[in-house]
Amino acid sequence: MIEFSHVFFTPEERKEPALKDITFSVRSGEFVVVIGSSGSGKSLLCQCINGIIPHYLAGTLEGIVTIAGLDTKTHKISELAKKVGMVFQDPETQLFEMRVSDDLAMVLENLGVPAEEIRERIKTTAATVEIEDLLERNPMYLSGGQKQRVAIGCGLIAGPEILVLDEPTSDLDPLGTQMVYSTLSKLNTENGTTIIMVDHKSSLISEISSRVIVMDEGTIVKDGSPSQVFQDVDLMYKIGAFIPQVTETAWRLRKDGYRFERFPIHVKEAAGAFCRLLPEAKAPVGRHHRAGTASGGGLQPVVEVRDLKYTYPGPVQALKGVNLKVSRGEFLAIIGQNGSGKSTLLKTLNGLLRVEEGRVRVQGRDMSRIKVSDMAGITSFLFQNPANSIFCETVGEEVAYGMRNLSVPDEQIRSEVPSILTEFGLAGLEQALPENLSRGEKQLTAVSAAFAMKPELVLFDEPTSGMDHTTIGLIMAKLKQLVEKSATVIMVTHDMEVTARYASRVVVMNEGIILRDESTAELFTKDIELLKSLRLIPPQITLLAQELRSRGKGIPPDILTVEEFCQTFEKEVRL
């Protein structure tokens, strides 16, 4: 179906090829996921498949790419479009119309397909991707998952046998991601569509795909079934890919001499493997002991929210009476579904949304009167999409911008900027243009600029969205350091692994109210059912611990991180 034979691609502005000697083939009906660090050439690979390379992107293509028997060099994009559908990351730049049906029709209209047939195909495609009830809606007002389903519909409508998706779930919450994955899975199994998808949500990848291709620096470094590929944990680390937590745990324990024939990927599989190694529990299993769980009481309050209500025009009541107290040195995660009011709450803490009903005090300041710019230097706010946080012409300028507004002397700015950039792994990029950076580098730029202003309170909307594993690790470690220096961090997140690992306290929101406000360990042990009802899946490692416990092993149910699991495991085995 797809054949790459010794393909090299050198973009016009570069001397070195960005794709080097790519050779692989994909059979009809396969579900292939391509993973790799940013800049590894994944997107270019996708663009080779539908003919954007060489027909649209300037550069030199060597080697042969054939798609369903058509050589991409000699066939136009419009000919290839009948064989290959494309779906991109950003809904904003691929849904051009104000009605879903217009977007679906676009490719067929451009190909000159008769109107009657287009109407028929809109119906069948909408049924396939389950958007029949959205056809006359404005894509702008759909949820992220719905938007990407529409985009998949746009890719499918010309009837291609191959669907290529370039990071379709980067901007989606877990619910939206599940929505997209279930659609893809159905297309693959029921319609036999061949799917090539660039993505990096590993625990899910292993469940839906039949094959994983790993790219690094423009070449394919690994190619096999998910369970084969994830065995090479060292490689996964190197490219910053997500590793399923149970896989990582087995990998660490093997280093300590425990025998695993192969690394497990799923919880069930892992439970079997760990069960064999663990003795039965000898005493009733208690809680895992960990130092210092903050409660929010007693210490000096940084944030005080009382009876906060917020209504958007429409009217949509986003907050329906929220009470919250956060103390200095806390690391708080706010979790919940989309539309639960998390981001609204976060924005009122910085004045981005004005408090109209109720009271919000941040560091003693009444937020109903304060201007956003007056909060600079006290709070730093980071937006979900790093492109929304940065606006200067160079990376260095971006970091200096806030310092200058705080009247930091030029001398000091000049000396501090390079060291801050180095701290965030951006050394040498001081003069780089932000638009040329990868999403991860953009986020690091945004975070370093926020840190340069030495905030007492960091407000972070979705720190991990669309980031690779390495970037997440770096950002979270920096936030943790800040908390250790007695600053406060409040993050809104969907990422349960990050919540479990870093947050000391979690607030669960739903429909504008706070459902739970408790320590992280408590949440993941007592409230599993609540989380599931909100479609928030607890970390794999916690689920593994609970599964082992239910099988009579001595692992406490409130394990939150891989490290905690390994410690407890070794202690149990030694007993």
Binding site: Q47, N50, I52, H55, Y56, L57, K76, I77, S78, A81, M86, F88, E92, T93, Q94, F96, E97, M98, R99, S101, D102, A105, M106, V107, L108, E109, N110, L111, G112, P114, A115, I118, R119, E136, N138, M140, C154, P313, L352, K371, V372, S373, D374, M375, A376, G377, F383, A387, S389, I390, F391, C392, E393, Y401, G402, N405, L406, E435, A449, M453
Partner: protein, 283 residues
Amino acid sequence: MVLFRDYTGTTLMHRLDPRSKAIYMTAVLVIAILFSDYTYQLAITLSLVVPLLIISKILARPELRNKLFLTGIILTFALLVPANAVFRLPAGDYPELVRQGVDVGLLFWLGPFPVTTYGALLGVNYGIRILNMLLSLLIFTGTSFPRDVGNSLEKWGIPTYLSYMFAMTIRYIPTVEDNVFSVMNAQKVKGFKGYERGSFAEKLKAYVGMFVPVLLLSIDMINKMSIVMESRCFGAAPKRTIFREYRFKLRDFLFLAYVLSVTGAFVALWILGYGHAYTFFWS
């Protein structure tokens, strides 16, 4: 703000063919320009604008209920009426008009300028004229999807690229607006006080400074969009098909019959010499 974000509706105006509404708007533009007498201008408002405003329920939309829109209308009148009252008649022409026996309703002299009722009423006419044009444009664009306007005009021979340019420009106005707010927020969060404090000049400077980042965001967006457009085979077939049907229905004919007969009547009046500025009612 939600301007240019919503075109859905079930009123008669929403259901008309976009071409009928385009003809309507053109007709109002033409006669609004013809008449210089405010009474005739007001007659246009009452016969061709107000009824359709009511039918289309366009003024019920939240974006038109904001202060900016109302302030704009009031300011237009507040500027046009006195400005015309004062400056409409060059001081030098005044004695000539008096000699011809034309009554321009002199109120008083403001230094060298004769302040006249005639000028003030011309100002009123300009105000109503602008309102007629603006509201008919709003009735047309606010009740038709840009894609439908583009498509139906394409059926009348407008080139595809023009219809696309039109539909996409309007589609992306809200996106650019969002980009503007996102840049402003990012700057405010980092302590930039230009939008919130300072003099008018400082604020103006702040808004000008925002232009470059918004432009960069837009260029990035256009680059991504052009790849998608290419993948969707834009321009592949010599003649694009349009899957939606655009056909004049009975309601379109009735609507146009009304609009064109009223317009015809106004044009006839104008040809007969009514409603020109110099056939001022007390001259």
